[in-house]
């Protein structure tokens, strides 16, 4: 069974659209994260959620909004998509806040045209 699963794996959409990426973990972890990986493979954290509470929000535009219906799910909603949002988005989870063993999903490649 996949520990951290994301859907969809690929997403192609036009500028200005609104889209969501879903993430689920079956590890019983308390904390989940979203990372963005750019074309140069640089991984940068966007959000982390601990027990449904947003812990950090780096310098991410407010067009991006994480939503966590329960601690096993952390979805990423993006409004008014821009060309610069094209990247691979990775979901990850860790046992608890401050735990440093992250398990990553396989990524969602978002292409904005």
């Amino acid at each position: 069974d996949t520990a951290v699963s994301q859907t969809p794996k690929y997403l192609v959409t036009q500028m200005g659209n609104d889209k969501s990426i879903k993430c689920e973990q079956n590890l019983g972890h308390d904390t989940m994260y979203w990372y963005k990986q750019d074309s140069k493979k640089f991984l940068k954290i966007m959000f982390s959620y601990n027990n449904k509470e947003l812990i950090i929000n780096e310098t991410v535009p407010n067009r991006f909004s994480p939503k966590s219906p329960d601690k096993a799910h952390l979805n990423l909603h993006i409004n008014s998509l821009e060309l610069g949002d094209s990247a691979v988005y990775f979901c990850a989870s860790s046992e608890r806040l401050g735990s440093n063993g992250y398990t990553f999903g396989s990524g969602t490649r978002l292409t904005v045209v």
Binding site: I45, Y102, G107
Partner: protein, 114 residues
């Protein structure tokens, strides 16, 4: 073969040779370090970790070396195999730094030539 991490994003080695991937980290307060391997189309996968109270840690075919004086981390892969081809990231963690999460380095692309 050996890389200098941030300044040489691609390292090409012959199959069977040893490879060394280097990483310079930025936060002197970081006390935990992880190497991740990312294969094409997949998410990063844990390889090996090391805490700041250690200088060296060995796994199966992999060794991580930590030099806190110069804030340098390296990953040594012995007898490289085709399956070792991937992008390798070092990540640092400051346990006293709140909930900022893991900070990743820029990655090194390791290419194994037959």
């Amino acid at each position: 073969g050996e890389s200098v991490g941030l300044h040489l994003p691609t390292l090409s080695v012959q199959e069977g040779d040893n490879s060394i991937i280097n990483c310079a980290y930025s936060n002197s307060a970081s006390d935990y370090f992880i190497w991740y391997k990312q294969e094409s189309g997949k998410g990063p996968q844990f390889i090996i970790d090391i805490r700041s109270n250690m200088d060296k840690r060995q796994g199966q075919r992999v060794t991580v070396l930590l030099n806190k004086t110069v804030k340098h981390l390296s990953l040594q892969i012995a007898a490289t195999q085709p399956g070792d081809s991937a992008v390798y990231f070092c990540a640092e963690w400051d346990s006293g730094g709140g909930a900022d999460g893991l900070t990743f380095g820029k990655g090194t692309h390791l290419i194994i030539q037959p």
